[in-house]
Amino acid sequence: MPSQPVLEIRGLDKSFGPVQVLHDVAFTAYTGEVTALVGDNGAGKSTLVKCLGGTYSIDAGEYFFDGKPVQVASPREAADLGIEIVYQDLALCDNLDIVQNMFLGREKKSGLVLDEATMEEMAAKTLDSLSVRTVKSIRQLVSSLSGGQRQTVAIAKAVLWNSKVVILDEPTAALGVAQTAQVLELVRRLADNGLGVILISHNMNDVFAVSDRIAALYLGRMAAQVKTSDVTHSQVVELITSGRSGELGLQKVNGVTA
């Protein structure tokens, strides 16, 4: 069992003007594990992820990466630490091929020209390490790919940079059944290959299929972070909808003892 989390947040507060969106949130993610981040719409999942990724600054709280305290003021700084986020819109360019997309904005150069050979080799190696067999050619245009293949490319792009933590925002939301299965297996493989994976999902089957831990947000507070092997489906649903489930979760919600 991993002793020290690769990523840890303590006492995180975040407000937008007068509205406090996150209250005293604690969150951890471990190398080699999938941590599912669940919660109702508006619970603060996206805000938390944007704080982790440096898009939003935090008002209060401590951020540790690899056990060391860090300041993450921009997405670039998060990427430098080894944190990559795959958003729902994937941010891929339809008119470019797979290799070009994977290196977009971070192209390898040899002298003045692009080093196509190296980029191709790195892209192929990355897809291979993820056992991706669904893509025929890495020179295919992204416009010709299915939803699942696009998701795969977006994830491979995040893995390419020796990243240590990959955050996936609803990766199966727009996919059919067969592609959902492939992406779930890919998510699992990322962690089995030694990454820390944070999976945001509303689908309880997806969460239970691949996660090692579940962190449930409720109205901007971390209701509980538990090991998946210690909870049932109905307990997680209760944590999401009411912030507590028996002994688990918030014993005091909005100042009222439940």
Binding site: D192, T228, S229
Partner: protein
Amino acid sequence: MMRAGPSQEEIRRHNLGVLLRHVHLGGPTSRSELTTKMGLNRSTIMALTSDLTAAGLVREELPRETGRAGRPSLVVRPESARVYVLAFDIGVDRLVAARVGLGGVILDRREAARERGIFVMEDVVGRLGSFTREMLKKTRSDTLCVGVGVAFSGGVRRSDGVVRFSPYMGVTDAPLGEELERKLSLGIPVAVGNDANLGALAEQARGVGVGCRDLIYLHGDVGIGGGVIAAGQLLGGQGGYGGEVGHMVINAGGRPCGCGSRGCLEAEVGERALLEAAGRFGPQIGRDAVRAVVDAADRGDIVAQQALARVGDWLGLGVANLVNIFNPEMVIFGGMLREIYLAAAAQVRSRITTDVLHASRESLRLRTPVLGDDTTLVGAAELAFAQVLADPLEALARVGV
């Protein structure tokens, strides 16, 4: 009689097999890595590789680039294009034949759908025979077949490859190994094994279970088979029928099972149970029918969702029993159970949480196969390679080299 320790010749033969296995499972490996992995000195490794090279099983090459100072260590590669086995997979709905090179590369592959119904030896052996002829016609003359392996969806006697039972194919006591050997007439014995047993070995050798010494592989075809690996060894039982977890009774007096009993895991979780619960038992069968239920559930069909939840719950109960008994590191859901696990994981894992001892579930890993639908086929290939990996030179002598 008391026996002295192994002779030098026996040790050499053993080491040849171990080295070949490293290269077969691990891919191209440098001599220096082999030295470390096998704990032998450099000159011994050199002697062993030159023996295997002379036998045509491996070849040595300079590595492309090392980026380090000093003379680079030669890389030992399996002769995948030259040395191969024939692997067959006989499922209820499909027949697969493949030519698999040393190192586990699928060189050629043929597949045919099989009609549901009684197993007719002549038809099955005939089809596999013609697949083999087609594949052999395309091989170069310097290639060498070193074994034949079959994965069969049913109980197989270990000693002679006789199929003892298969409820979904209506077969008892069929000498499959013998008949296929006669049909192929390659002069190579045909090894036959239970598909889920072989699937367990395949996922452990080159799938999601690499490095795992305690794992359970569950294979969903029409029924459910299983392979249990404990402390690195497959539990075959006395006759080779071990691991038939599909016939573990989980619901006393439950749904009738093809084996004659009631409430077996496969009666509650198998294809028919799912389709009936979803109100879809009809002309559409097999993986496509299972996928259609998962798809309908995903689109919001309440009946399909309830069917998956019900089946997932029973599956979780079955797995919970197995985990309590065997304390595996990993449980792998193969065949159509892959679809069921991924679509009903909330139910499966809730059962495991409530029904498994805490100590046995805290580091349990639930996975789907890396080898996908080829898991059982790859298992057949590994069975076919067993001889040549156990004693390479002796095995070559037997196939006439």
